[in-house]
Amino acid sequence: MTAAQRGTGQGTDAYKRFSELLPKEERENACSARVPKSQILTLPELRANPFQQRICHVFSTSETEDDSMSFEDFLDMLSVFSDSATSDIKSYYAFRIFDFDNDGILDRKDLEQLVNCLTGQGEGSRLSSTEMDQLIQNILEESDIDKDGSINLAEFQHVVSRSPDFASSFKIVL
């Protein structure tokens, strides 16, 4: 009886939710249409997420880089965030989401941005620069196994795969 036991199980849910995001005239051909980023961000499941921009970016296959999503991208996202995705896949996508500059590693800048995302926008909740330095230093000490000043995918997965509640928190239920 963990919190993991949840879910809708209705197959058409995803399709319904997706077509709701589309303007009315496009609903008929929802499979081929693309939903713009601004619409995706209105999903209640993503609205409060500090990584919403990154999630859109990572899952979008748009040619024009406007981070719009097709139905298949949408399904991709849901499948990664579903219960049945393996933690390998989840951690891989988590890495992509945290990799703000898309260069394949998490360096100090990425980590700093990540901390800022996690601590929110409020002035009071920001960490001071010494705290930030200390924090990033500690994280790198723990996770940067090859001591090159950044965390790569394998190091990231190594760390995350040991976390007890990564798989249960890295999920979205429609």
Partner: protein
Amino acid sequence: MGKKKKSTLQVILEDAGIEFDGEVETDTESEEDEAKDKKTNKQRLRETGRASTLQSKKQEKDKEEKEDKEEDESKEEDNGSQQNRASRRKNYQRKNRNGRKAREEGSQKKDRGKTAPNKDQKESENKEKKTTKRGKEGENKQKKGRKNSTSSASSNSSDEESLSEEELAMLKEQVEQKKKLISTMRNKPWRMAKKLSVLREAQDFVEKFEGALGKGKGKKLYAYKMMMAKKWVKFKRDFENFKTQCIPWEMKIKEVESHFGSSVASYFIFLRWMYGVNLVLFGLIFGLVIIPEVLMGMPYGSLPRKTVPRAEQATAMDFSVLWDFEGYIKYSALFYGYYNNQRTIGWLKYRLPMAYFMVGISVFGYSLMVVIRSMARNANESTADGDDNNFIFSWKMFTSWDYLIGNPETADNKFASITTSFKESIVDEQESNKDENIHLRRFLRVLANVLIICCLCGSGYLIYFVVKRSQTFSKMQNVGWYERNEVEIVMSLLGMFCPPLFETIAALENYHPRIGLKWQLGRIFALFLGNLYTFLLALMDDVNEKLAEEDVVKNITHWTLLGHHNSSAGNDSTVTPAPLDPADVPRGPCWETTVGIEFMRLTVSDILVTYITILVGDFIRACFVRFVNYCWCWDLEAGFPSYAEFDISGNVLGLVFNQGMIWMGSFYAPGLVGINVLRLLTSMYFQCWAVMSSNVPHARVFKASKSNNFYMGLLLLILFLSLLPVAYTIMSLPPSFDCGPFSGKKRMYDVIQETIELDFPLFVAKIFSYLANPGLIIPAILLMVLTIYYLNAVSKAYQRANAELKKKMQMQREEEKNKRNNKASTNPMLQDLEDLLTPSTKTESPPKQAEDKKIESPNGSSPARKPGRGEALAGSPRGSGRGAAFTPPSPVFVTQPRILGVRAPYPGQPRPWGHPLGPVPGRGRGQPCYPRAAR
């Protein structure tokens, strides 16, 4: 649990008419399959081996063209196109069956395995070089075959008769492989479009050739079997979905969870679990005790124990009396006293006293079993958790965001809690280095504990005092409402004011919040427990008094009945004496019913206090804060009263404590479980509503995954503690002489002996008497103790082994840390993931493509690549360090050093790394944006 819900993707695909199989298979299997394939290839080659080197070169060229075309796609795409090629190959094989197929197949093999494309390719090439020359016509035919490839797939199903055994076997393997692909599809990190296309192709292939395989041996049967299997899978999935939908309050809890995080939801899940347990208990008690009694037992008024005494009859229906569970309620099937000691009732000859006793025991048995099972399951789940403290900061960083949070308010709180936890752990880190003024802290902690023990003792004494007083009140007439309900009021007040007091005192101790929370839970638990036990002790005094009183009443009753008999007999000897009206018979105090009533009252007042607290403390407060805020001099929402938080620990403890009372009381008040079921049901809705309407999410969230077993532990403890008094009363107190199912017996458990003696044949009674012999019981207990000792020793040994392994892994990790270079890739999963980067990270796609080429092309032509790759595939991912590792990498054999150069300090150990660091250094090669590439 994850199985319960199909992934959305899967369900969608299912809607599109596509089937998934839920199995997960490992990659090693497919490797084995490939090895098998290789063997068959070799055989065939030996049989009809002749192929020209010229031709092989040409083919190589073809291949390269093809690869160029497919470069933007990932390697695995070949798995999909393999189907085309398979059909092409078949077509071709039909036309000339002289051994060329072997080579063709070899080339195909190259594309097939995502794990080892290069190796297979090379192998096939080596074979081709050995073989002799071939004519040009074969080449032409092959080309033709390629052109036909798409169209031939449909036609070749008619020609299967010409397939030989070998081909059949091969085909079978392929089909198996496709099936495997279908089943493992879900674990592949591909884009949805690709998944769909590959899946469709694989399914087409399987569908096409599956029937062909079965042709020789009953195709129809095979097809039927396949169909049934499919249907079965679909049915199972539907059933799972149905089961998921049947879980009650799923949506409600989900809603709460999305607003308040998983910790609050854990309370509601606990509540739901509790409801389930209570429902079973309710079914047991109602189905086996209350309903038989109501249907088949003697009706109301037929016996003294089933009748309201004459003195009480006037007020028996007053609400104030009923509210105290006196009057008609006291003499109803809800309480122990109503039951008759008749051995069998009704035409069914239902043995009610026996059933009553057995149900009372099985309530505890079932509860114990279900709690232990749930704890064990939780423990199983939680042992998978890494409890090493290596990654405190990283975990906080990478896994602390709960993606289920969908509410901005909750998100704000989560931001705040993450920030505080960051700050806390930074402070911890700094403090762990310098621990100053330890004496002051120790002194404060001792002081706090002394204070809290004083509080506990005081509250215990207060309750004892009040219970004592209530006994004197109960003897007096005309006592007011307060005097009658003093015990309940005092206990509720204590429960309301002590926890905040403890919290204030606990601030002295300056514990880490999580440890502090555990202490807090423990102390409140002790308070409740102390209260409960003091209450019980007072009740025992009461019971003993009643027992003494009973002896007197027994004589009176006896003489009254006798006197009535005599008087009626003396008046007129011919007329049979009219029986004394049951309401007039003097009766004993029936301590069992008194105990039941006491628990019933306590439960009801607990329910009321809980609900009123929620209503006043949460709802009214929220209304006040919300609406008076417009005309108040300070900000009520942010300032003093603000909104209430959901008090998880208090609620959980309340629930646990309440359940303990149910367990204790249910033997003497069978109706108690019914009331509890109602309570849980209403509190589910009521609390869900209260949480959603008037609470704000927590600032401090405690981990739901860990604390769940903590709740269960508390529950188990209280179950055990509540078992003690019940067992004591059953085993050592004599039942009342004139009420309850065991009246007239010396002890309650005599009912079992009686049943054995009267209802079973003699030898069974003998067996039981042997079994009950201390000579047998003591060895049995001894055996159990020994077993426990042994199992304990075994588990200790496992733990030690675990710790050893952990230490080794730690050492390995250290070593790994020290070594900075040489990472090998053996995990295909990583490669899969790697390939995903290509289409999606648009900025770096050009270098990626070039690099893919680099990986593929040199390997294809260089035999030197083989050993490293082969070794990697053979399952021993890390060879021992060799000299080659330290030679500077040449531009051609770029991948060699990273494969050969890795040493495994403990070859037999599992790798400490989830995934070897393979492709990452490889990927960065030659690109400026990857700083690590130079190594």
